[in-house]
Homo-oligomer: 286 residues x 2
Amino acid sequence: MKLFIIGIGLIGGSFAKDIRRLYPDTTIYGIDSNPSHLDEAMALKIIDAKSDYEDLGVADMVVVAIPVNALVAELPKILHKVGDDCVVIDGGSTKNLICETLEDHPKRRNYLACHPIAGTEFSGPSAAIERLYEGKTNIICEVEKTAFKLQERALELFRQMGMRIRYMNPLAHDKHIAYVSHLSHISSFMLGKTVIEKEKNERDIFDMAGSGFESTVRLAKSSPAMWTPIFEQNRENVIETLQEYINNLQKFKDLLEKGDYTGIYNEMNDTNKIKEILKGIPHNKQ
Amino acid sequence: MKLFIIGIGLIGGSFAKDIRRLYPDTTIYGIDSNPSHLDEAMALKIIDAKSDYEDLGVADMVVVAIPVNALVAELPKILHKVGDDCVVIDGGSTKNLICETLEDHPKRRNYLACHPIAGTEFSGPSAAIERLYEGKTNIICEVEKTAFKLQERALELFRQMGMRIRYMNPLAHDKHIAYVSHLSHISSFMLGKTVIEKEKNERDIFDMAGSGFESTVRLAKSSPAMWTPIFEQNRENVIETLQEYINNLQKFKDLLEKGDYTGIYNEMNDTNKIKEILKGIPHNKQ
């Protein structure tokens, strides 16, 4: 198989590693706007050769793992370059604008809209890890618009990678992912900001931080270049979730101000059921 | 050595495990208001015997690891029961009200006010782990009020447990810990609440959650019985940090509403320096 990875970072590089393990005869070509990422991916043997869009005609599969604004700009061009028997998949954290953009593309049937729910807060080729996707959910949108034998090829790969498949329409995807992913990133970034601002005046407060703080601000290490276009594309849903979160924080603060500690207890106790919910979320095997 | 652990949960039990390893000749007595915790601690061999306050006269060291409202109520009674050569330490997440309460106690010199910054979101004797405190910071308040040879005994134990010691006054402790610990718990609880509320109407959105969501809501598994009195005792500081956090979230939302994506990028980019800060925080070895 001839595989092209466009965007050799955490997501694209981890795809490459699994595909090399599962299909040892594959030749993996890398395309990246950042030349040092390509050099690094070559050195790490994640890819076999550097390439560019002009070579895409020979591809059997293309994995596009670039920021969501770049997906909207590049996927139409990529689809024009690939052959009729090539399947193009992406890993974008938003799906609606991308699917809308490609709706009338003559090669729409060559594209399978995917969002594998997997990752870490790190980025670049060196962040790529084997089996990142094992046990994780891959959300596929508008599956009926992809040619059946190309669906089969991609789904067989996902099955071998150990992914669970969930089918969803792009609007529902974007709405729900705002709650379980996009909001977590904002809560983490703003928590980090609040404490960094305090540290400026109060020095050395991070010496007092433990693993609980670390866990809640871990996502504040994420890439702004990747996340800004996600928030832009999913703006309305993100604003709605953020408003609900602020309302809940405000209500908690009101209870504290009134000294209603039974109310405070109940707020936390009612949320403790998250224990059961979290048991169902697969861990990374890092 | 005769050691009494009052409150055989995660914190008290982990102290017991380390002390047994470091001082094998120690006899460990357990006191707990919950009889099933005592049975569990006996079965797990965390303690050698069940005990009560009437036996405290023979203690060389007492570790009190109970919720902070119970500390305020129980520490005065415990100090009355211990001998002149016994050191009493606690693990409370607030320090000011506790230090104020004990200020004029006739046995104040037997008490060392501690806050070991260590823990997990789990509770009870079965949550106790060896070496929980290794590499962690232990904040000691008003060290000068403790008898010197009792300070020495406690500090030698902390040294052998591998803890870093930081001295601080109780007011500064409570103010700073609101930022790096108490706020993280509220952000996590309210994030969990926001998503659980959505799930009620939208079903199955947790299937879409990944490890990022899990990380930010992990602390929402924490015990409401432990955290309600912490928020009560540290009410003013917590309200202040919570207001700053809400302001930052509101500002982020305003930027999104205005479509100021350069502003959004800068907010995240400025907070990315948390990467360097987090490198200094020790991980749990679970």
